[in-house]
């Protein structure tokens, strides 16, 4: 890897404490309770490409549709001011910050971070800086933690069409702890370690959701061409993939830049698009035909000095151009390095080359869109190319499902942050502060050691319980059954039962069943029997009263063993157990069997 490579991480973790600025639960049933539609106006203070895109969207009357779910209220639809910050979420975030050895800010002011892609109904995300200046000890040395913020999660995009983006509001407002490191990370593998440790520091609180996207990482990366922030990395393993693909991309752009500069550079502030639709009458190109049938036109422009930098070996400027077109919802982009092709023959290419005045070093760009959009793209693409050739690569990108990073928007700057006037600045209570600091006295790893020791379970089991977000239920079940049994139940029996049933059992139901069985004076063998019965389709409510969970008595066992031995004289201990299990679903104490069987 490049020697100048500098990496930082932002890790986002969802808290299961209830939403941050209203009293809705974090999880709902996804039952849809309504739908509204809204438009967002870019506010005048904004600048940059995203804003231009947003204005463009506004011009197209792009509306956002929002689906309301049963865990939303007026706050999510921006119809009621936010409630005061959820104290449980704050307390969890403070504990995480303390575990990461941060200095906690004693006075907290909530900010608005302007976001106009519709993912927040308000047009901004509420975020609060709660701690700074922490550190994490890793195998490759200390990594500084810049900040811990507590912010609200955004709405989940569920559909996107030309003139409409639809979001589900269930996720909006879930508390997110955002942990940002300094660029102290040395390699992709190191990044994975850091992300894992940060995750652990959060999970150890037991307050992270079990949701599929409960943890998301962003990578900050620089190799001297400006900071790039890569969003949308949900699995640890993708961190490496993302870093490597972005490094390769930047190297490719550096090469392209060198080639183009050598040829005299790219000196346009706009592309001269020519309408070449007439050339495509009766074309064999499906892409072009589709565009024309939708009333679009084909525009061609010469790309100065960019021939064979668009898609040649590992130089792929065409991809960069396509990315920017996509930001304006234009998918139909072709360039000379892939032509002839896509049903466009050589003679057409030649005619276009002539029409656009293409020189020997120049490339050709074809865009299928409306005149109006072409006018906008003309400037946007030129400005993009200019920026890239200057090797000013700083921006926000996302890690796409194609295993590469793609353009998202410019880097947000400090000017996007304003105070959230609806939420009063507040002072962290002494109790919260003390509790957090006490919690932070142990690192996550130390705390897992302690769990292992305190509850008499293996370190591996303790670790699994924490990283599978099972700590709360582990502690809850420990109220009724021995912790070792609780651990076995959680890590083995219940996953097994869930697999059989083909669905997961809610934590509250697990606790209810265990508690109800234990209340009947029965022990963990009956509990396991109970879950076994559940997996065979019994109704949960009936189980605590069921005779099938009552262990076989000494007399019952004696009779059963007598029968079995009669038919199987000389049966061995293991086989005997199996024979008993065949005859009854009720639990029994193997030791009693041994003592009775007298083998």
């Amino acid at each position: 890897m490049n020697k100048d490579l500098v990496i930082g991480l932002e890790v986002h973790l969802q808290l299961n404490t209830g939403k941050l600025f209203c009293r809705c639960p974090v999880s709902g049933t996804d039952q849809i309770t309504g739908q509204i539609s809204r438009r967002l106006k870019p506010t005048s203070g904004e600048s940059g490409l995203v804003d231009r895109a947003a204005i463009y969207e506004e011009e197209r009357s792009r509306a956002f549709d929002y689906v309301l779910t049963d865990n939303t209220c007026l706050v999510e639809i921006d119809e009621e001011p936010p409630r005061p910050m959820n104290p449980h979420a704050l307390s969890a975030a403070l504990k995480i910050a303390a575990t990461l050895k941060c200095s906690i800010l004693e006075d907290i002011e909530c900010m608005r971070k302007i976001v106009i892609d519709g993912s927040n109904t308000s047009g901004f995300q509420r975020t609060s800086l709660i701690a700074m200046n922490g550190s994490l000890d890793t195998e490759r040395g200390k990594v500084r933690i810049s900040s811990v913020c507590l912010e609200e999660d955004s709405a989940r995009k569920i559909a996107e069409e030309d003139h409409m983006v639809k979001y589900s509001l269930g996720r909006l407002g879930i508390p997110l702890v955002e942990i940002t490191t300094e660029p102290d990370i040395k390699s992709a593998d190191h990044a994975i370690e850091v992300a894992r440790l940060i995750g652990l520091s959060a999970m150890i609180t037991g307050l992270i959701t079990k949701d599929s996207d409960s943890i998301r990482q962003d990578v900050n990366l620089s190799m001297g061409y400006g900071r790039v922030e890569i969003k949308g990395i949900s699995r640890l393993s993708q961190i490496k993939e993302a870093i490597e693909s972005e490094v390769s991309r930047q190297q490719s752009i550096a090469r392209a830049s060198e080639i183009i500069k050598k040829r005299g550079g790219f000196n346009r502030s706009y592309l001269e698009f020519i309408d070449v639709s007439d050339l495509f009458e009766g074309t064999g190109s499906i892409l072009v035909k589709k565009g024309l049938s939708e009333g679009k036109r084909i525009f061609a422009a010469c790309l100065e000095n960019m021939n064979e930098t668009l898609k040649q070996d590992d130089v792929r400027m065409g991809q960069e151009i396509a990315d920017i077109a996509r930001a304006f919802s234009v998918g139909g982009v072709l360039h000379s390095d892939e032509l002839p092709g896509y049903g466009i023959d050589d003679s057409t290419v030649k005619t276009i080359s002539k029409k656009t005045g293409r020189g020997v070093n120049d490339g050709i760009l074809l865009v299928i869109t409306t005149k109006r959009t072409a006018d906008i793209l003309s400037r946007e693409i030129a400005s993009r190319i200019t920026k890239l050739i200057k090797l000013d690569l700083q921006e926000t990108r996302f890690f796409s499902d194609k295993g590469r990073t793609a353009y998202l928007r410019p880097l947000p700057g400090a000017e996007r942050m304003y105070p959230e006037t609806d939420v009063k600045p507040f002072h962290v209570t002494n109790e919260d502060l003390k509790e957090a600091i006490d919690f932070g006295k142990l690192s996550a790893e130390e705390r897992i050691d302690k769990i292992s020791k305190d509850y008499g379970i293996s370190r591996q089991d303790a670790n699994t319980i924490v990283t599978n977000m099972r700590l709360p239920i582990f502690l809850a079940l420990g109220e009724f059954i021995p912790f070792r049994s609780a651990s076995r139940l959680i890590l083995q029996k219940i996953p097994e039962v869930e697999r059989k049933m083909g669905k997961s059992i809610e934590d509250e139901k697990i606790i209810w069943l265990v508690q109800s069985i234990v209340k009947h004076g029965l022990d963990v063998t009956s509990v396991e029997a109970g879950f076994e019965i559940l997996s065979s389709g019994a109704e949960m409510k009936s189980i605590p009263e069921s005779g099938e969970i009552v262990p076989l008595s000494q007399n019952e066992l004696r009779d059963l063993i007598g029968d079995i031995k009669k038919n199987n004289p000389g049966i061995r201990q293991g086989s005997l157990m199996n024979e008993i299990r065949k005859k009854t679903r009720r639990p029994f104490d193997p030791r009693t069997v041994i003592s009775i069987a007298d083998l």
């Binding site: 119809e79 009621e80 047009g123 800086l129």
Partner: protein
């Protein structure tokens, strides 16, 4: 920073706090705390006593723009006046201090109405800059003069107003403008215009669309529902703010809906048209009026105390307009002493009717004046007007429809 004098807001500093050095922008002092913006954009708050300024890089100049209080937008034929009185719709967050307050910057209007620039020639003017909870009858009179002036030189008047008391002002203007040559469309917003999600943009755009119609009354234009894309126009005397925070807080009580915009298409109905003749403005109001909210705990004493110094008391009674029998004697006494007792219902929907039950008939006999389906707030404002306009015929005028405040047919629509 204790003992140190504070630099101007916006100054760039290097400070030391809790052993850490930080590069910050100074925002403001807030009861012993210093508020500083970090490079990341986050604000931090430290007790000033704990902060040491190491270096001041850049002392901020006060660069707050001085906005013109008048401006023209559009190149169309229709001359429209937009007057702003303040309220959330013209409030913006001060990005430096974080306070939201009425601003004199109406530049966002230009964005709101870009679609209409070809049709209108909009002249904006700041006539006041207050939140509507501070509006008083004196403000209404001043506003009415400003509107009259605007009406004399334009085809329509759009009035920006805080939502809290917008319906009171709308009622007052409805009565005071006995003849009007132009529509007066009032609008406000529930989200301030500095937010990307503000309803201000659409509300202003819709108000201007309505103002292009032949309307000779005062209406309130706001969101028709929680979604963007449709607006409702409500007769001033029949509008009521029915939610503290939703965009669609304003509801037409009874048959108060006089217009609707859906997908930028305007519909109006049951509207009074502009008059061709000259504007008639009656600009006197008797402020000695109030609303008394009857409850089972109400006593003669409470009513007497409340009525002190008043010329008219609008009672929000229960149901069809009833109050406890225990208050009847007091009502008769007050009535005899020249204080008009006007009966409305705290139900807000429906009509008072003192003929159905004996208790109502007794109340009626005590001199109380039931005012059909008039809203309590409208009844109070109308009392102010009638007390100056024709005090001798107070009861008769209160019980007659003047501006659509009384409707003799009760629509069968659902309750709002």
């Amino acid at each position: 920073m204790s003992g140190q004098s504070l630099p101007p807001s916006g100054s760039k500093l290097q400070i030391e706090h809790d052993g850490q050095e930080l590069h910050v922008t100074f925002i403001k002092e807030d009861s012993g705390y210093g508020v500083f913006k970090l490079a990341s954009g986050y604000n931090v708050r430290f007790p000033l006593a704990d902060v040491k300024i190491i270096k001041i890089y850049d002392i901020s100049q006060d660069h707050r723009k001085t906005m013109k209080e008048e401006t023209n937008i559009g190149r169309g034929a229709h001359r429209i006046s937009l007057l702003s009185t303040g309220g959330t719709i013209s409030s913006r967050v001060d990005y430096t201090t974080g306070a939201v307050r009425p601003t004199k910057d109406l530049s966002f209007i230009r964005e709101a109405i870009s679609d209409l620039e070809d049709r209108i020639n909009l002249r904006t003017e700041i006539i006041d800059s207050i939140l509507s909870e501070n509006m008083t009858p004196s403000h209404w009179i001043k506003i009415s003069h400003d509107i009259k002036k605007a009406m004399e030189s334009s085809e329509a008047v759009v009035l920006l107003h805080g939502t809290d008391t917008m319906s009171y002002t709308a009622s007052a203007l409805s009565f005071m403008f006995e003849k009007q040559t132009a529509p007066v469309i009032m609008t406000g917003s529930q989200r301030s215009s500095d937010r990307p999600s503000s309803d201000a943009f659409e509300n202003i755009e819709s108000s201007i669309r309505f103002s292009l119609e032949n309307i000779g009354e005062v209406g309130i234009c706001m969101h028709a529902n929680s979604s963007d894309g449709s607006a409702i126009l409500i007769r001033g005397v029949r509008a009521r703010k029915m939610h503290t925070s939703r965009r669609d807080a304003f509801k037409p009580m009874g048959d108060g809906e006089i217009g609707r915009i859906t997908d930028r298409r305007t519909f109006i109905k049951n509207i009074r048209k502009k008059t061709d003749s000259s504007i008639e403005l009656f600009d006197q109001l008797d402020k000695r009026c109030g609303i008394f909210y009857f409850t089972p705990a109400s006593t003669e004493e409470e009513l007497e105390n409340f009525s002190r110094g008043k010329k008219a008391v609008v009672i929000m009674a229960t149901g069809l307009g009833h109050v406890a029998e225990a208050l009847l004697k007091k009502i008769r006494d007050l009535s005899d002493s020249g204080i008009h007792i006007v009966i409305t219902s705290q139900c807000l929907n429906g009509r008072v009717d003192l003929d159905v039950y004996a208790s109502g008939r007794n109340l009626s006999a005590s001199g109380a004046i039931p005012v059909e389906d008039m809203l309590p707030e409208t009844a109070m404002v109308k009392s102010m007007y009638v007390l100056k306009k024709d005090p001798d015929n107070f009861a008769k005028l209160m019980q007659s429809d003047m501006r659509g405040e009384i409707t003799l047919r009760s629509d069968t629509v659902e309750i709002r």
